[in-house]
Structure formats: structure tokens, C-alpha cells
């Protein structure tokens, strides 16, 4: 096994801050690893914590949730609810034995293209360290 493990990471981004921040990273031609793929939602408040679970089950090696800094939420307070929900989802996953490096949450504003790059690099690095997620990945089902 000389080939390096390339993790597959699913990220949920809010439309107004983090998705725009990632767009800015693009327009500024920042470079970062391609392991992370983004699903756009309108607000972090929309992200059902069970999506994290679902992503891990469906083959993601790591998950990132990113939204607006406190006070910046386009919908005023969606990120506040998300902060609570994901803190506890993270606690629960870790308690059951899922490495704390698999799931991350970040605040990235529309102006933080540079921070987005750093966040992606950190998440990719950490998930690369722990290797593929096998714990409760869904078994291939042949209908």
C-alpha cells in the first residue's frame, strides 16, 4: 500500500458566508486540496445534524459544516442553533468512538477566502491522518 490515502470529505456550507467565502477563495485563485466537496444550503440552521451521520454512512471519510460568524447570519440566528446542534452531535459521535478529527465545524465569512483554504487544508490533513472511515459505513447493497 504505497498509494497515499485520499480522503473523501463532504462539506455543508451556508449560501451567504461560507459558500461565498469559498467562491472568494476561487476568484483569488487560492489553491487547496480537492478532497472536499461542497453541498450548498441556505443557512447552517438548515443542516440537519443527521446529515453528518448520513454522510459518514454513505462513504464520506470526514464532514465539515461551515457558516457565518456569530452575528453575521443572513437569517440572524440560524448559525446559533447550528452551533448548539453540532456541538452535541460531535460529542455524541466522539463518545461512540468516531475520531474527533472526522467532523469539524467552522465559521468562514464571505470575506475569508484565505481562512477557507486553511480550514480545508486542516480538515483534509486531519482526516488523511486517521485514514478511511470504516466504523459504520453503509455496506454496499445490491438490490
Amino acid at each position: 500500500m504505497s498509494e497515499q490515502f485520499e480522503p473523501n470529505i463532504v462539506a455543508f456550507l451556508c449560501n451567504w458566508c461560507s459558500y461565498a467565502g469559498a467562491d472568494l477563495a476561487g476568484t483569488s485563485r487560492t489553491h487547496y486540496p480537492a478532497n472536499l466537496k461542497v453541498i450548498r444550503v441556505m443557512c447552517t440552521g438548515r443542516i440537519n445534524p443527521l446529515f453528518v451521520l448520513n454522510a459518514l454512512q454513505q462513504g464520506a471519510d470526514g464532514v465539515l459544516v461551515s457558516g457565518c460568524h456569530p452575528g453575521d447570519c443572513h437569517y440572524m440566528e440560524g448559525n446559533m442553533y447550528a452551533r448548539r446542534r453540532f456541538r452535541l452531535m460531535k460529542d455524541l459521535l466522539e463518545y461512540l468512538g468516531v475520531d474527533s478529527r472526522r467532523f469539524h465545524m467552522s465559521w468562514v465569512s464571505a470575506s475569508e477566502g484565505g481562512k477557507w483554504k486553511e480550514v480545508v487544508e486542516k480538515v483534509v490533513d486531519e482526516v488523511s491522518e486517521i485514514g478511511p472511515f470504516e466504523q459504520f459505513k453503509r455496506e454496499k447493497i445490491n438490490w
Binding site: 445534524p49 443527521l50 451521520l53 448520513n54 454512512q57 456569530p70 440566528e77 446559533m80 442553533y81 452551533r83 448548539r84 446542534r85 456541538r87 452535541l88 452531535m89 460531535k90 460529542d91 455524541l92 459521535l93 466522539e94 463518545y95 461512540l96 468512538g97 468516531v98 475520531d99 474527533s100 469539524h104 465545524m105 467552522s106 465559521w107 480550514v119 486542516k122 480538515v123 466504523q135 459504520f136 459505513k137 453503509r138 455496506e139 447493497i141
Partner: protein
């Protein structure tokens, strides 16, 4: 504490009221230590009520389980109240349901009972096996007295009480229209047995533990049905579009089921332990719930089922909520 005759007398009185439909309590089951929820529809039924350390179901569940069958056109729904025997944990479940509008306070009559904890039947299994004979138990100060086939055995409470009851801080009802008997002095400090042990283990060790537990799950959903908080008529975990969890019984789907179940109870679990007691596979579900109860209390200073006027935890936030985990 309280004697059975007082309860039965009071129950009779309540059921006789015109505005009360029925009273939900417990009665003896058909064999062994089993005790089952019991709907007292008429005053004379009250004679069958029991109240003992064997009453291990949370009666608040019965409130939300009541099915609303379609009514023939023109027929008015029965608007009479439901009466309920409540101990600390039952009443906390009712209070939590009040905050979630699952119950209308005007529609329930709560008859409070102090409680010294219920027996975990699995702890009795080896030393005091159950047979087809109907057996009995009662509290006697710090002991539990078992009465199996006429033979009485006194056992220290600590040996046979359910883990949840050992650390119960709410032995008396937090909400009731009337509470019978004398209040019980709480006996426990806040603690979450078994949780810290796992917290101190490595991720791999934790997963080794849970993987074995979840592998045994037969997905009978008894935990879900026994829980007073799991009251969705159509659980998302049963749905096909979208399919959150496949029906296949394997550790992946089982784990996902247990994570989803526990997560839905964040800030709602009242620590009654009903889920764990009914689990036929003996999965320590309380250990998952207790972890979240602990986090919610430590990080957010929230205790479900204690404030009928409170805003549900999952529907609130504090601008100062901690965020040290956020990048």
C-alpha cells in the same frame, strides 16, 4: 411513602369525576415480576392498581401513545381528561411534553407518588430468578422486599435498583395536581455512571464497545416505543422517501438508528431509563442518553422536564454558547 389503599381510594375518586375519562396506573402482569400499565376506566377497576418497585414503565408514554382513530362524521371527540399516576420521572416526562405541547395541562390530572426507585429485572435474574408464579416486591426503607411464592427476601436497594434510579435526583413529582404520601429525601448526587469510563477510553476502545452492543440490536424499536419522548406518529427512521436508515439489520444501520434516536432526545431525555429496561438485547442505551444529558447540563445548564414554562432546549440558543470546537 404511600400505602396502596390511599392510592386506590384516590384513584376511585378521580375516575368517578365526570370530567375524567380514565386513570392510567399499573397492575400485576400475568407472570413473575411483571407489572403492566393499566387503564382504570371505572371506579371498581381501581382495586387492581399496584404500586411497587416493579412498576418499571414510564406512564407518560401512555399519554402520547393514545391513538387518535378517525371519528365518524359528526361524532365529537372525547374531551374528558386523562388521569395519570406520576413519580419523579413520569412527571418530568409530562413537564417536558408540556413544553413541547405534546400534552395540554388542562387535559391531564396528575396524581403524584413519591418513589424510591424501581428494580432492574436483569439484576434480579441470577440471584432471584423469576418463574411463572406471580411475584411481588415492596419498598422497605433502604431495602427491597421480594415476595416470591410466599417467600420473603430482603435485598439492599443498591443491589437491584435500576442504574438510573440509583442516581435519581427527582424521587418526588415535579408537577402534580396532588401528591400522596410523604416526600422521599433524594439520595443521590448528580452522576452519570459508566459515562466517564467510556469518555476516558480511546476512540477505538469506545467503538469496540459500542460496535458489539449495536451488533446485537434486533431493531425491534422497543426502546422507541417505551420512551415518553418518542411520540412522532410517523418516525423519520421508518420513512422511505427519503430513506434515512435502511431496514437491514447490520451494525451500520443499527448504529445510525441509535445515533439518530439518541440525538433526537438531546435536551429532552428525562433519564427514566425505560428504553434500557425494555431492550431485549440488553444494550446499555442509558449510557448514550446519559452522555447527552451530562453534556446538556454541563455545557448549557439545561435540565429537561423541570420547567413547564421553559423553552425546549432544541428550540433555543444562548448567544454565549461555547464554540471552542469551531475552527
Amino acid at each position: 411513602m404511600v400505602d396502596l389503599e390511599t392510592i386506590r381510594k384516590k384513584a376511585k375518586e378521580i375516575v368517578s369525576r365526570e370530567d375524567v375519562k380514565h386513570l392510567i396506573g399499573w397492575r400485576k402482569g400475568t407472570f413473575g415480576y411483571r407489572v403492566t400499565p393499566y387503564w382504570v376506566e371505572a371506579p371498581e377497576d381501581a382495586e387492581e392498581l399496584v404500586y411497587s418497585p416493579l412498576c418499571n414503565t414510564n406512564l407518560a408514554t401512555s399519554l402520547t401513545l393514545a391513538e387518535k382513530l378517525p371519528l365518524p362524521k359528526g361524532q365529537e371527540p372525547d374531551r374528558r381528561k386523562t388521569a395519570l399516576l406520576v413519580r419523579g420521572c413520569d412527571s418530568r416526562a409530562v413537564v417536558q411534553l408540556l413544553t413541547e405541547r405534546g400534552v395540554d395541562r388542562e387535559q391531564v390530572v396528575l396524581l403524584g407518588l413519591p418513589c424510591r426507585g424501581v428494580v432492574d429485572l436483569r439484576k434480579l435474574k441470577d440471584s432471584y430468578p423469576e418463574d411463572n408464579e406471580v411475584a411481588d416486591a415492596e419498598w422497605k426503607e433502604d431495602k427491597i422486599v421480594l415476595n416470591v411464592s410466599g417467600e420473603k427476601k430482603e435485598i439492599p436497594r443498591e443491589e437491584v435498583l435500576d442504574d438510573h434510579c440509583l442516581v435519581c435526583r427527582y424521587p418526588n413529582p415535579v408537577e402534580a395536581d396532588e401528591t400522596l404520601g410523604e416526600k422521599v429525601e433524594p439520595w443521590a448526587e448528580e452522576s452519570h455512571p459508566g459515562v466517564e469510563e467510556l469518555e476516558n477510553a480511546s476512540f477505538d476502545k469506545r467503538w469496540d464497545f459500542w460496535e458489539k452492543e449495536f451488533e446485537r440490536c434486533i431493531r425491534c424499536y422497543a426502546c422507541r416505543n417505551a420512551c415518553p419522548m418518542c411520540y412522532c406518529e410517523d418516525c423519520i427512521l421508518d420513512r422511505l422517501n427519503p430513506t434515512w436508515i435502511y431496514r437491514s439489520n447490520n451494525y451500520s444501520e443499527n448504529t445510525a438508528f441509535h445515533i439518530a434516536r439518541a440525538f433526537h432526545l438531546v435536551g429532552r431525555c428525562v433519564s427514566c431509563g425505560a428504553c434500557e429496561r425494555v431492550c431485549p438485547a440488553g444494550i446499555p442505551l442509558g449510557k448514550i442518553n446519559q452522555k447527552l444529558v451530562k453534556e446538556v447540563r454541563e455545557k448549557y445548564e439545561f435540565e429537561p422536564g423541570t420547567d413547564p414554562e421553559g423553552v425546549p432546549f432544541q428550540a433555543s440558543y444562548n448567544p454565549q454558547d461555547q464554540e471552542d470546537f469551531i475552527l
